[in-house]
């Protein structure tokens, strides 16, 4: 029922998303055992192909693969022949010739995982491409909200922060809308990508308006080194206007939860307090990330060589 790859949420059907979440729920149980390992993917090989540095996502995929007994190989450009000007596709094809059962790809340019998937026999899982998509992050966010609220349908979800550079925001907009939630986004006008309304979200610039009645508040990371000056006057001003803390949270529903994909700029987009404590659920997101990635690997690794469906993103 699923395609061979997981490249984005945009191309997934609601039923496919639900199947992944159901599977992840059972994988959570494995993570609660004393022996957190099952033999399911014994003899399978998973390659983490990360052209962009990442510790959290890569580690999460690595643990997920190992808990399923797969052999996980990490491959990143700094330790490879990428420096010898081998092209991305050459690298991918070389790795594919070693018959991996899944390749997890991260790249700073949107569309690279898709391009690689077109050339490879192995299923490709997008672990983040430019400002395009980060499907496993959105899925683990869905899992976290589902666990907290018991449903996604009818919830009011607010995404706050740098929408322009955020693949997490894009994937989450698709994900939550497909499962029946209403999504609002809030950001400084300079950080709202043109045409984002076309995705069906309500765009507001005032945080208070965005938080009003929200069940879920999702805070995005500000890349302060890169952005200050160009997109907002100062960190202090961003924090005062768009930073989420307990005081501003009172506009949201009483039982609203606060999420962040990490790594957090503490005291900038999210207060220390919410980073560590409920209603902040940041570490639950991390924990669920492993179960969710186990589910994706379970469903996809082993589908090497299958023809891929046309027209899927």
């Amino acid at each position: 029922m699923m395609g061979r790859d997981l490249l984005g949420i945009e191309g997934l059907e609601r039923e496919e998303i639900e199947r992944i979440l159901e599977t992840a729920k059972h994988m959570q149980e494995v993570g609660r055992r004393e022996v957190k390992k099952v033999p399911t993917l014994r003899g399978r090989t998973i390659i983490n192909l990360f052209f962009e540095p990442s510790t959290r996502t890569r580690t999460s995929f690595e643990i997920a693969g190992k808990r399923l007994s797969a052999d996980v190989i990490n491959f990143s450009p700094s330790t490879s022949s990428m420096t010898k000007a081998e092209t991305i596709l050459d690298t991918a094809k070389t790795l594919d010739a070693m018959d991996p059962d899944a390749v997890v790809v991260r790249h700073k340019v949107a569309g690279v995982p898709k391009r690689i998937a077109d050339e490879l026999s192995a299923p490709v899982i997008n672990a983040g491409d430019g400002a395009h998509e980060h499907p496993t992050q959105a899925l683990l966010d869905l899992l976290t909200v589902w666990e907290e609220k018991g449903r996604i349908d009818g919830l009011s979800v607010t995404i706050v922060g740098d929408l322009l550079h955020s693949r997490v925001a894009r994937s989450n907009i698709y994900a939550f809308q497909k499962l029946g939630a209403e999504v609002r986004v809030a950001a400084p006008p300079t950080m709202v990508p043109a045409g984002i309304e076309a995705l069906g979200v309500k765009v507001v610039t005032r945080l208070r308006e965005a938080l009003d009645g929200a069940d879920v508040v999702m805070v995005l990371r500000i890349q302060k080194e890169r952005l200050e000056g160009a997109f907002f006057p100062s960190i202090r001003e961003y924090s005062a206007t768009y930073g989420v803390d307990r005081a501003k949270l009172r506009f949201a529903k009483d039982d609203a939860i606060v999420m962040h994909p990490g790594p957090i700029n503490r005291g900038v987009e999210l207060s220390h307090d919410l980073a560590d404590r409920r209603p902040g659920v940041v570490l639950d997101q991390v924990r669920n990330g492993v179960a969710l990635r186990m589910a994706v690997l379970y469903l996809l690794a082993g589908r090497r060589g299958e023809p891929r469906e046309e027209g899927r993103s």
Binding site: H26, E29, T40
Partner: protein, 202 residues
């Protein structure tokens, strides 16, 4: 699963109304088998407090619960019931592209030093029990494992034996044997049905 009121009247009527399926064990038959098996378990095991009844989903779960209830009635000992999905331990995952859906696992108590009574609904090739034993060992080191199957339909492929059988039902390989709720789902009243020729049996 279609629900036809006439099904409540038993195998003969069912066979007439739905030629592709026949009821081989009705609710009363299932309950009687579980009472007998409970007595056999009591007869065989001295340390009744050490028993841990574990059902393999989906069909094994309601049977495990009823069996634990029967054991409680006979002995007065309250028993823990666990649920153990074997899907992640199956030996046929390699080579099959479509992954089977996972089912619930809930092991509320440690298995170390317990006598685990593993309850499956339909025993055939032995592969599910093989997988269940591997799964069980991941939860600890049981003192012993004994297997209950409501139905033994034959076609063994592995050297595994069952300790307690509800009923032997010789079948053709292409037939399927299912335990199901008469009202749908897996709620009591249950019945065991042989379905003709819908693909390969597991």
């Amino acid at each position: 699963m279609a629900n036809d009121p006439s099904k409540a009247h038993g195998a003969a009527v069912r066979a007439a109304s739905a030629p592709h399926e026949r009821v081989v064990l009705d609710d009363l038959g299932i309950r009687r088998a579980l009472v007998r098996i409970a007595h056999e378990i009591v007869e065989r095991n001295e340390d009744l407090g050490g028993l841990y009844v574990v059902g393999v989903p989906n069909g094994g779960v309601p049977l495990a619960r009823q069996l634990a209830e029967n054991l409680r009635e006979i002995t007065g000992v309250e028993l823990v019931v666990g649920i153990l999905d074997t899907t992640l331990y199956r030996d046929d995952l390699t080579g099959s592209a479509q992954r089977p859906p996972l089912r619930r696992t809930e092991m509320p108590s440690a298995v170390d030093d317990r006598i685990v009574i593993l309850v499956d609904d339909v025993f055939s090739t032995g592969r599910t029990v093989r997988a269940a034993m591997d799964a069980l060992m991941d939860f600890g080191r049981p003192r012993a494992v004994q297997v209950v199957a409501l139905i033994d339909r034959g076609h063994r492929e592995l050297p595994i034996k069952i300790d307690y059988v509800g009923k032997n039902i010789p079948t053709a390989r292409r037939e399927r044997v299912v335990v199901r709720g008469r009202e749908g789902g897996l709620d009591w009243p249950l019945e065991v049905v042989v379905l003709a020729d819908e693909g390969e049996g597991r």
